[in-house]
Symmetry: D2
Subunit: 275 residues, 4 copies
């Protein structure tokens, strides 16, 4: 049994929660707890052994906690996601493979592409592909078509796996803290377009990638995971892009593992990640 | 207030502990908890906010726990260590610098060397240096002299900072789980002498270092910390040794931070490390 | 134009080679050169700009070099490989994806499995799968069937992508320095079976993977690439295996990039890798 | 013998250089060569074995090269440096230790501090310390005093080892490409003051450090070396600063090794680093 709680901090929260578990005959196997003192917020994730016949409901815990408490018991173990892509295959293929072998922690319901070059790989894995071109359409129409398609599936998360169009605040507002993006730089460096070209021009010795939730401000949402790799003077912007693909794939895979296994809390513009 | 507990696992331990804290008016800021299911052992480290006038004693907790429980409240914040060296300076110098600037988490009481080449650096930092040569002495006499010197200081830990003589089981038995060694390979690869020569001969692409507690079996004690770095074909054994110094220094520094801040539990031949 | 040379070292080799290139009107863009002084061996890899109308043949260089020189000009840019697997999908799927998107640097001609669980993924990518069971067959018959299948394709390399049967010296002798294996530990630690179980029992704080050429001695062949990641006390052997999959996939992909782009020289039991 | 050349690229440069070496009876042990195609610039660093009685002068090579060629033969093996600090000890102490044990690749002639808290550690190592306060002085007077002190020593490089005052363009112009700074972030993220505070506010999952040459534009000079480490939600800005010290020390040490062993070329706003 997984129990997740976020609320205002106050003395005695762990005692109240663990007391309730003990009374219900439940044994804590693993407990991650964190208090952000500056914000006075309390976060806990419990992995609990549940003998036959024992039960626990959110209502058993809520009266013991501050009134702003968000309590989740046994979050859905099999999430549903819709993936959005443009032309680059590496993140999508990694997701499709894990989906096929049931190690993703989610089911890929569909893929939406603003180009159709990745249609074939989706078909090979039996995953519906929706080609929604951004050409010959107003941005509003384009996004409406995407929203309609997503809503048909009602996914838990929308994953931007190298989707290269900027989404409007209206779009993002439809799926608050449910859109995950992979950005091809170690944010906050190289915000915006062409980060590898920017990195090349600056002569950096490391490049990286960042997975984050999407908010209204471009590339400014809460960061979930980041990694970097070393490069040197011999790397062209093209070489950096190629090397960067490996990091992007790895960072997005890691971020999805964390989010889909309910290890990520969001508050303000930050995340608490219990790895 | 730091509280550390290791004991047999059973249902209700977190509840019992946090209940006692709550009753005493203490608020948990951070709690690291781990149960080794295979061994049925429970480990917890609590960082607790202690308002004026509140107290907690080991005897307040012990009756709530299994009878094998080891409870430590507010372990000594300033440990004492004796360092043993041979000729290589890098780990010792790092320890002396941190000691001098009071960021080591311990006081270096003395340094013991089986050569005297590191005497001058110790004197510059005002740390007593004891030159105990292993030549013209039986091993037993040599070790007796070291033991006597150590016992004069009664340190919490003995740190082998590139001490290149093998210590007898009798010596180790005097300071059980209190001797920390830096081994210049990523154990269990390259046990024993000349690991960089072994690594060179094998043509490895990574080298590393391991900090561990010393037990009777050479290089077989519980591991505290490990790191690796990349090397390539152009590295001679000498180059590996040089590059390895940076890793050795870093791994030992990290292991000492963890041990000296009471973040390391030992059981069987393993460690639980709450970073 | 790529030029690769390995030979005995002597004074004037770079001068002789670059003189011949200059005379032929060829400009060196990039040159990797290494001399193993201990072995007196010379290795060079040149990336050369070739204006229209200029040519260079191995016979233009050979008279300028020691008589043991191995000279390769423009090695086949598109290698052919056969992949061997058992049940684990992660390395194979990564190879199939790169093959499909033409970023592998080779064509996967076929996959051979001693179980048939990975047949479906191969079929989805249109790659022939040969199921050759090791059961109800002598080892000799089993290996003969594999050799026959491989020989039908005449590949440049055979890639063991988590093939979990030990191959006989006779098998290995058929494809000298043409069989590449991914071993699930950072060699030389944890040779042989069940390295993650061994790593768990030893309580290590890092795990890793090694890609190497296969020779008669199990897990003792020349190492191409190695990586490690950090683990901690909370990892079961199963958790290590799961985390290890990501490293195995990454290390094998990296090793294949290096070998398939002719960046790896083998001599004695070592490799020279020009990254 | 070390030979370093930077010039405009053209066909035949390697041939011309290696021909001259061969004629002089010199054998190339190691050769690092790079051409920046976009800028048409050629860089080479040669490590050459020099039998008794052989010689080579810059004038032997210059006629063979484009007229803009900068040729250096046997750059001074023991550079001289002046270090500038404020209050933080970690980078300075690392430099003093390596200086004392003669593994820095340079001699520390003096340390200049705008505070005097690091005077004692310098005295312990017998290195002159100049206390030049920035208070009660105009910036021009302050910098003039520093320039005068530096000029008394005539160092090869000035190393800003956590010197926390911004230097004027006039100051920097006095020592072009001879001032090396350690910046406490992975540039170009978090330019300017308080990068750890900025990193904390942004909620990043990695922090890092950058060693670079100082130019007129703050934190915009050519990058020599960069590293990052992982952090998580539990790090305060203070914790990041503490963890960052280890990276800063390591990056600056690495950059100094590279620069002091003549492995770094500067051109435009970039570096070529032959590691």
């Amino acid at each position: 049994m997984i129990i997740i709680i976020q609320c205002r901090d106050r003395v005695g929260l762990v005692s109240a929660i663990s007391g309730a578990l003990s009374k219900a005959g439940l044994n804590i196997i693993n407990m991650d707890e964190y208090v952000d003192k500056a914000e006075n917020r309390f976060f806990v994730r419990l992995n609990v052994e549940q003998p036959d016949g024992t039960t626990l409901h959110e209502d058993d815990l809520k009266p013991l906690l501050p009134d702003d408490a968000v309590v989740t018991i046994n979050p859905s173990p099999e999430k549903k996601i819709v993936v959005m892509v443009t032309k680059e295959y590496h993140c999508l293929a990694d997701i499709l493979v894990r989906n096929y072998f049931k190690t993703l922690g989610a089911t890929v319901q569909a893929v939406i592409g603003n180009h159709n070059v990745l249609q074939d790989i989706c078909q090979r894995f039996g995953v519906p592909f929706h080609y929604i071109s951004h050409e010959q359409e107003s941005k509003a129409h384009f996004e409406d078509a995407i929203v309609d398609t997503i809503n048909n599936y009602n996914p838990d998360y929308v994953v931007l796996a190298k989707f290269m169009r900027i989404l409007s605040p209206e779009f993002v507002a439809r799926f608050p803290m449910r859109v995950i993006n992979i950005h091809h730089s170690f944010l906050p460096a190289f915000i915006g377009a062409n980060p590898y070209r920017q990195a090349y021009n600056r002569g950096v010795k490391i490049i990286g990638a960042t997975a984050h939730f999407v908010t209204n401000d471009l590339d400014e949402g809460p960061i979930i995971s980041q990694q970097t790799i070393h490069v040197n003077h011999s790397y062209t912007a093209q070489d950096m892009m190629k090397a960067g693909r490996e990091v992007e794939t790895s960072v997005l895979a890691n971020a999805l593992q964390l989010v889909l296994h309910d290890r990520v809390f969001v508050y303000k513009n930050k995340t608490v990640v219990f790895e």
